[in-house]
């Protein structure tokens, strides 16, 4: 029997509406990829939304053209992968292994990257042509 593989892709302006549409895509993907256990769906959905939100909030356009956000997600039998593209963004550096702010500090921001780290097996942030790319991968044990 072939390995199951379910895929979703979306490209749109780097806005909150596009992030919401990606979230809807994830809901649809999980309905189809019913072989993925619930805790893994929950973790990966949050990681993808955090990264896509980071693009909307922090990415800076390289030129006058507006930024675009593209998200490609693939669910396989023991692996979830998302590629998140900041299209038209200026080169950037993201600290992928910064720590979680202390609870007692009551900071209102700065947890997104640490959450992504906690939720995925591997996270890569790299530059390809005029695009910054996040690659998030979560390995899981199938049910």
């Amino acid at each position: 029997m072939p390995e199951p593989s379910v895929h979703r892709a979306r490209r749109g302006p780097a806005t909150a509406e596009t992030v919401d549409a990606v979230h809807n895509d994830l809901d649809g993907l999980w309905a189809e990829a019913d072989f993925v256990p619930e805790p893994d769906r929950m973790a990966f959905t949050l990681a993808v939304v955090e990264a896509a939100t980071n693009v909307v909030v922090h990415a800076v356009p390289a030129a006058e053209d507006p930024l675009e956000l593209e998200v490609d997600i693939t669910a396989e039998a023991s692996r979830l992968e998302a590629r998140i593209y900041e299209i038209g963004a200026a080169p950037a550096e993201v600290e992928v292994d910064g720590g979680m702010p202390a609870a007692e500090s009551a900071a209102e921001s700065g947890r997104g990257m640490a959450l992504i780290q906690a939720l995925v097996s591997a996270v890569v942030f790299e530059r390809r042509d005029d695009t910054n790319v996040w690659v998030l991968c979560r390995e899981y044990r199938g049910s």
């Binding site: 909150a16 992030v19 919401d20 979230h23 929950m42 973790a43 959905t45 949050l46 939304v49 955090e50 939100t53 909307v56 909030v57 979680m100 202390a102 609870a103 007692e104 009551a106 900071a107 209102e108 921001s109 947890r111 997104g112 640490a114 959450l115 906690a118 939720l119």
Partner: protein
């Protein structure tokens, strides 16, 4: 994200339905600011209908907690679903925003 506010004898009961994300977070801040400025500084945010929360939603809850405390009161959360519980645990914010089973239990000690 939709919010409703009900004024109970000892606290304001805010329910949030939908996704507490970068769109929902500023709305929550607005609702809580209005409730606190209206004189209710004991606030329960009931997350029974909140299917999803991200770090921006969590940041809004922390901001609202500070607001209620600055007004001499407190903000507590109730009825959280597994996804919200996951975010609270991963960030250790369950130490500051301890979830109560129900809104009525949240201020039973008040």
């Amino acid at each position: 994200m939709q919010f409703t506010v009900e004024h109970k004898p000892t606290f304001a009961h805010i329910t949030g339905t939908g996704r507490l994300n970068m769109v929902g977070a500023p709305k929550l801040r607005e609702v809580v600011a209005e409730v606190v400025s209206g004189g209710s500084n004991h606030v329960v945010v009931d997350l029974g209908g909140t299917e999803f929360m991200d770090s921006s939603g969590l940041g809004a809850l922390i901001g609202c907690l500070k607001l209620a405390r600055q007004a001499g009161g407190d903000l507590r959360i109730a009825n959280v679903r597994p996804q919200v519980q996951m975010v609270l645990e991963l960030t250790s914010m369950n130490r500051v925003l301890t979830p109560y089973d129900t809104a009525d239990e949240a201020f039973r000690d008040a």
